[in-house]
Amino acid sequence: MRVDLGRRLFYDQHLSKNSSISCNSCHQLTEYGVDPGKAVSFGHDQHPGGRNSPTVYNAGLQFAQFWDGRAATLAEQASGPMMNPVEMGMPGPETVLAYIHSNPVYIQLFRQTYPGRRDPMVMENVTDAIAAFESGLLTPARWDKYLEGDESALSNEEKQGLRVYLRTGCASCHAGTGMGGNSYQKLGAYHNWPDQQTDPGRLALTHQQRDSMYFKVPTLRNVERTGPWFHDGKVKTIEQAVRQMAQYQTGHPLSDADVQSIVKFLHALTGDIPHKYIQPPSSTTQTYKAATDHGSGPRLGLQAAVSTSREGQ
């Protein structure tokens, strides 16, 4: 139930200021959870975001969310973009809840999913449902079969790529269940990153100098499909991303052959998109229109919306 509700919320454009974008707009589930080809995504009013949209797939495997880890959990993350002025731009939680309260489908779903509360339509449950859905956005890959002992899961070229990957030191940060997403690392650990000014990473969050240029290490699952790469989305090819990582993070410049070899290994980290799981609900917009036709849309304000929902209790 939580997953179904979360899926509906994930696809719902009415959770943005002018009902123009949903979570799925910047984290397109049919495109490996990113905004393909865009360095940064554009918000409800077409303003560019500050950083590249990270993939939402396998986000549940990561120890923190966002590039700077400012949200500890998926639920904490879920409310961020909704209220971010340059993303979905909702003025505040009350506007989100006003819409939820105005929608008969949501009223029914929230009551079924979170029984026992007089008003289950609270932000805590909105974000909990989205987080429940996102927790299931997993893409097991051939790499997992290999780890479980299936030697044939990787081709000889991919195994050679794995050897280069390990020899280069990539696994110092990109290891574990998520092949990343489980530590913060300085971008430019060996050689200083060329752009030190535009985005100082976690420094902007913690205001501690030691966090300058530190970012969450991104997951490498599906990495070949989640470009453009890095926090600013400025790198347009996976080969260049591998080359720059080796140079700036490990101090080991790679030959073209080694770059290609690692890229081949990364291919083994790509899983299948769970098309059945991400099937969008069909009726969100219709039910919303039905609700607004009856005079209880999100523009009506919180009190009217709450009254509407309570009439059904």
Partner: protein
């Protein structure tokens, strides 16, 4: 012939002296003690001593740089090793790791010491007494093994 030797020698000395102007940067800025490995785990004395003695020179901001670490060309080599070492494992900056990554790095440290890949072969003769004893490595590896396990890959299924 003597003239050539004299000119060559003078050039070598001049280059050597000129290269001393390039000062190494070991980034030994003050650490946040709350963010260190010791603060995260409070390991017992044997383990703490092993790590401090064998690893901290290159894998922390708490290492002591010997005098020749400020003399080129050894300064360049040491700086490269310390940078590379701290990029892979930094005991001074442990709070940046999840419990899973923390365990992975410690397991790697165990493997490297058990296989005598660390400390590096050329580090040992320059730093007598820093190579850990077998019983110290065993104690460290047993301690790592006893750490709570992280997420299992099977959770993806």
């Amino acid at each position: 012939m003597r003239r050539i030797i004299w000119i060559t020698g003078t050039l070598v000395i001049a280059i050597f002296l000129a290269m001393q102007l390039h000062r190494p940067n070991y980034d030994l800025s003050p650490i946040d003690t709350a963010a260190t490995f010791d603060a995260s785990f409070h390991p017992d004395q044997q383990i703490s001593k092993t790590l401090h003695q064998s690893c901290y020179s290159c894998h922390s901001a708490q290492g002591k740089i010997p005098w020749y670490g400020n003399v080129w060309p050894t300064s360049q080599l040491m700086q490269n090793d310390v940078r590379r070492g701290r990029a892979r494992l930094d005991f001074s900056n442990w709070s940046n790791l999840s419990p899973e990554m923390s365990r992975i790095r410690l397991q790697n440290a165990c493997s490297m010491m058990r296989e005598s890949k660390m400390p590096l072969w050329y580090y040992r003769p320059m730093h007598p007494g820093t190579a850990p004893k077998a019983e110290d490595v065993a104690a460290f590896c047993n301690w790592v093994k006893a750490l709570p396990s992280g997420q299992d890959v099977a959770s993806l299924r």
